[in-house]
Amino acid sequence: MRFLLPGALAWLLLLAIPLILHLVRPRARAVRTSTLAFFLGLDRRQQESPWLRWLKRLLALVLSASVVAGVVLALSRPVVAPSDESVRSVVLLVDRSASMATRADDGRTRLEQVVASARARLAGLSAGCALTIIAHDARSDIVVAATIDRREAERALTALTVHPVASDAATHAAALALAGRLAAAATPAQVWDLSDAPAADTPDTILPGGVTRVPLSVALATPVNAGISAADLRRRPLEPGQLDVFVEISATLAPNTAAEAVLVANIDAQEVALRTLALSADADGHCAVQRLSFGLDHPTGAVLRLSLRLTGDQLPLDDLVELRLPELTPLHVLLVADEPDPFLVLVLAGLEKAGGMRVERLAPAAWTPTTVADVVVFHRWLPPTWPERAVLIVDPPGNLSPLTVTPITDGLPVESPRCPDASHPVLFGVASARVAALQTAVLSGDGGLQPLWLSPAGPLLLAGDVKSGRAVILAAAPARSARLALTAAYPLLIANALLWTSEPARERRTGHRHRTGTLLPLAGKTLTWSDGTAVTLRGGMAALDRLGSWSTDGGDLGSAALLSLEESRLPRAPTTSTAVVGTASGDWLSGDLLPLLVALVFSVLLIDAWLCHRWGVS
């Protein structure tokens, strides 16, 4: 046991007061009387025997001394530390990500458990130990910076709330590094890593010398959760008016158990789809990620609401996703070419005929950067500068920064180009293995351009963000690539490219879909969430720290969802964990003894009062 304010123990000298009063209190005056008979007939209290009187006095002395000692001890703040730590500073790294909202059987969230345990451990620190509190999810916030005010720290801890934001090992490592830097200001120091992550997940090597990481995990032994870890909407490239909904489900169950989850899709409170998923956990409790999609035929409404139900689900934050439906108006495509490739013209004409887009043609001589279109398609011609919009470049004739084009004389036949990222939306539905094309150049680009098809000579299909728009560059001559132009892959590739490149512009009109935690530049002054909560935009920026759809008074629309595989797949406490929060909660005589002493003092006072009035102990 230690005393946070040991100087207050000097007040124990006050114990001398009741002792002196006991010793020097007026002795009973000796009085000789003619007879005791009339005194003996008085109250029974007057007939106490000397030893009983002595016992009562001794009891009164003990009680009064107990009150004085209890008050003094309470003032000196005795604490029983769970461990004998002598550190100069402690940084509390508190995980406030979505998974910390997991409720155990006792109804407490992981964050509440962490806060309670941290408060219990704080009581064991010396009064001079500086405390810093960092709360982290996708980003880290210093909630309390190096203070010795224990009440301030406890208030800050109590005020922490779970953010429906995902965190991962990288963000956790960044937060840990920040905590290490702060803790290094006064060593020896400790970083209490309060999280639901398994204790051994993060190495201690990122901490500076003199700083020790104390992993305190509150992971549940058998978490149960199923969540939507990914969701998206896509227009079907070749079927205007049709939408595909893609959903990814991640789940954690008790080891070697099975369960059934239900996914319900609603548009404006009308159920449009219902899917049942059979979940089966392995020996670690993890379920295989399940991906499913379903179509929506000419949906009418603004928001698609996906909700996942699982009996015993302990984390509700990943069970709900709201997605704003994209507008189904035809794309405006501007084709800029002297002599456009006939197969390209054929593809665009087919898409226009299906109603999915509206195609205009423009001669390169008439090119002006102010042309309004969702996507501009360049064929064997490039403008002097990169246009500030979405572009699809087919068979680029030369370089255009940041695109570098190395022509291949006579072309290079390529069959089954290698796909570094087959899941890219541009390649959705495209059977790349069946593709045979004549590569006309080797592409390379700086920045965000990513190769999607690779030949032995180099990339022939690039996609990525360039300046303020998306771009897809195809270095192939459709007219000389029979197996490309005549297969279904080509129109699908072109349609995918047109939809993907135009997606940011369309989302600005129909609503962004973001993961929570994203920091967005938005127009307007107020952001209003679907639950009615209004947030004032500061500096034109907003952090999406809620779930649901939102809009701004500047006309921006969007939605935010957790959509995190790491958060939905709840960590499971190892059976042999050596660092588990709650050592203080199991030991009743630990932590701050102030409440116990106050209770004892009041009890003694009550007993004293009762004895004084009932039995004359005074």
């Binding site: 007026p26 009973a28 005056r29 000796a30 009085v31 000789r32 009387t33 003619s34 007879t35 005791l36 008979a37 009339f38 005194f39 003996l40 007939g41 008085l42 109250d43 209290r45 007057q46 007939q47 106490e48 025997s49 000397p50 009187r53 004359g616």
Partner: protein
């Protein structure tokens, strides 16, 4: 627990003026007695003193020694001489010499001794016989029967030397008061009636009822006993038994004490009245002469009443 009771406040007991005042008291008593004798209530009793009173016819059974033979010689008829009857009382003074009569209120001893001397003076000066007994847990004759005023000084000297000690037990001491013809006369019991069990005093007084004497109980009580000025934590000690008790007295407790003590005194007075015993509540705080005169005026053979 014996107490040194023989020398305490002797000067206060019998100061030089006390006997003078006692003579004045005796004169006052006689004057009042003479004033009462002017009435028709003179006693018709005849006795065998030398004072001739009258003749009357002889009747059978008369003592033939009282026949006046000279009158028989002249008148040839038998007459007997009748003499004046002079009554002589045997005055018994039973003085409580227990410790409680001197502690914690020494004024009780002073007044008790003064009462003894005053009664004795009246008895001796009135030609009565006086006996002095001390009582505590027994009854002891202190002096042989005295007669004649010349014994007053001896009485005073003896009273000076009386020791007050031991517990008081009227239930034992009063029955031991010597029986027989000696018990005729006037008995004065001077006591506080306090003991280990005051209630026993009531029973003990029954003994006085059987005495063939005019019995008086002079209960000497000090105001400090009626209403003690005590409060708070005390260690009380019974002066007679030595028993100690620690008590915590409040004003309410004292009020109950006063009520109980007064009730006990009243009970003694009622008991005495019911058994035709004269009861005098003697207050040591009151002037002696006033109380003594008032006591005699209540009526006593000693005062001619």
């Amino acid at each position: 627990m014996a107490a040194d009771t023989t020398v305490a406040a002797d000067d206060e007991l019998f100061d030089p003026t006390f006997l003078d005042r006692l003579r004045v008291l005796a004169l006052q008593v006689r004057r009042r007695r003479r004033q009462r004798r002017q009435g028709p209530a003179q006693t018709p009793a005849a006795g065998h003193t030398r004072e001739f009173k009258d003749h009357r016819h002889y009747a059978r059974g008369d003592d033939y020694r009282s026949i006046d033979w000279r009158v028989f010689a002249r008148l040839d008829r038998l007459f007997v001489r009748v003499f004046e009857e002079i009554q002589e009382y045997h005055v018994h003074v039973l003085l409580d010499c227990s410790t409680s009569m001197i502690e914690p209120c020494p004024r009780k001893r002073r007044d008790a001794l003064r009462l003894t001397v005053a009664i004795g003076y009246l008895a001796l000066s009135g030609g009565h016989r006086l006996s002095l007994h001390s009582i505590n847990d027994t009854c002891r004759r202190e002096l042989p029967p005295l007669k004649g005023q010349g014994h007053v000084h001896g009485l005073v000297e003896h009273c000076r030397k009386l020791a007050f000690s031991g517990p008081s037990d009227l239930a034992v001491s009063l029955p031991r008061f010597s029986a027989g013809n000696e018990r005729r006369g006037i008995a004065f019991v001077i006591s506080d009636c306090l003991g280990s069990d005051p209630a026993q005093a009531l029973t003990a007084l029954r003994t006085m009822r059987s005495w063939p004497a005019e019995s008086h109980l002079i209960q000497v009580i000090d105001p400090a006993e009626r209403s003690p000025a005590l409060e708070g934590e005390l260690r009380l000690e019974d002066v007679e038994t030595g028993e100690q008790r620690r008590v915590w007295l409040t004003r309410d407790d004292l009020a109950r004490y006063r009520t109980a003590f007064a009730g006990w005194c009243d009970e003694i007075a009622r008991t005495c009245a019911s058994w035709q015993l004269d009861h005098v509540a003697w207050d040591t705080a009151q002037p002696f002469e006033d109380q003594f005169l008032a006591f005699l005026e209540r009526g006593s053979a000693l005062s001619g009443g």
